[in-house]
Symmetry: C2
Subunit: 217 residues, 2 copies
Amino acid sequence: MVMAMIPNQAFRPAPLTARDRLLEAGVKLVREQGFSATSVDQLCQHAGVTKGAFFHHFASKEALGVALAKYWSDSTGAFFAGAPFHHAEYPVQRVLGYIDLRIALLAGPVESFSCVAGTMVQEVFLTSEAIRAACEASIMGNAHALEADLAAAIAQSGAREVTAAGLARHAQAVIQGAIVLAKAKGGAAAAGVAREELQHLRRYFAMLFQQEMTDAG
Amino acid sequence: MVMAMIPNQAFRPAPLTARDRLLEAGVKLVREQGFSATSVDQLCQHAGVTKGAFFHHFASKEALGVALAKYWSDSTGAFFAGAPFHHAEYPVQRVLGYIDLRIALLAGPVESFSCVAGTMVQEVFLTSEAIRAACEASIMGNAHALEADLAAAIAQSGAREVTAAGLARHAQAVIQGAIVLAKAKGGAAAAGVAREELQHLRRYFAMLFQQEMTDAG
DNA sequence: ATAACCATACCAACTGGTCGGTATGTTACA
DNA sequence: TGTAACATACCGACCAGTTGGTATGGTTAT
């Protein structure tokens, strides 16, 4: 799915091409206002390009939405692929390490850790099949990255009645739900509410895998 | 929070006043397209009233959003307050009964069980403080209705490290996340994905309360 | 009659999208 | 090597339609 890993632009090299600048503006504006409320003019203004440039790179606003989901997916996927929790010895440690990392990322204002794909799909799941599919790929791709570790953890712990794919989806569901609750709470308390949800997810996984709870975020 | 309980209008008496018809149209259109993508003209057309009627009852589109969250909250609140799971003997049964009811409601197309408050707050949490607060009240009110049974279940089971309020929020978070994943999945498989998430929530609660898993939805 | 309720007509701002045109390469070939 | 042919990236004015919102006037119950 999606998440913070894009705290703000200053920490990453400023995108050079107009296309990248538009996608970067898309990340920011969709997080702040959603997809429907974000206009093409706004995207152009924020990216510092003209409308002509926009429609040179994207056939339509919908096409930008599709590209944005992929851009988001690639960015977040690369971030988690390079995270240190992968080097933990036991699969259960790797699974809990992933959750701990997600917890650590839940800080600051909601728009700094909310999910572009999750936000978009809520709005357009019925009106744009192309964007819906792109968001599904983003969220489910993020889930898929967890499956191997979860399968190993299940095998090692002997957990029954659950599947690796199902648990991976559940992790994404809790993350998405945590973001919704954080948005509802608003203000400085938002991130704390979201972290609390991930703590419950961690406890669930730890219980399933018969692992003692260690400290978390 | 939010949910199906409003499967479709045919099962409830057709609202008579223009205000109610507009709110009913709001439920349907926000579920299908989100709040930003829903125009005042669309709401009027669907409700069978004119723009004059709209702005007679609501000072602005934002005001309708606030009223819609309250309308939604009252409708769903009344539905769950009257549900039979409240009559179960043990608190753990009542908690799991609530989840089983939610699972049973997850059927049909996503727009028939999605959450109006959750959808709205995703889009406008930064741009409309009034709607955000109304959605928070809706979602947290739904959570609050569970707290008494959860507190009793915690007391009876001796569960530690969790609070009734925290678990109540977690239930809402999982429900919201299940809806997001269902929207991403799309099509006929959507409801099944959502039910799977609630099953995980049920398993988590059952483990916390040391209760054996019985059949669920 | 008087106030709540609702319809019609209208407006300025903005919507996604188009279009003709330009500036800067990149390639093909004499 | 020079130049013609083509491609890519971008600009900014413009379009028809839609947006949320207003102004005003007519009904209908009390």
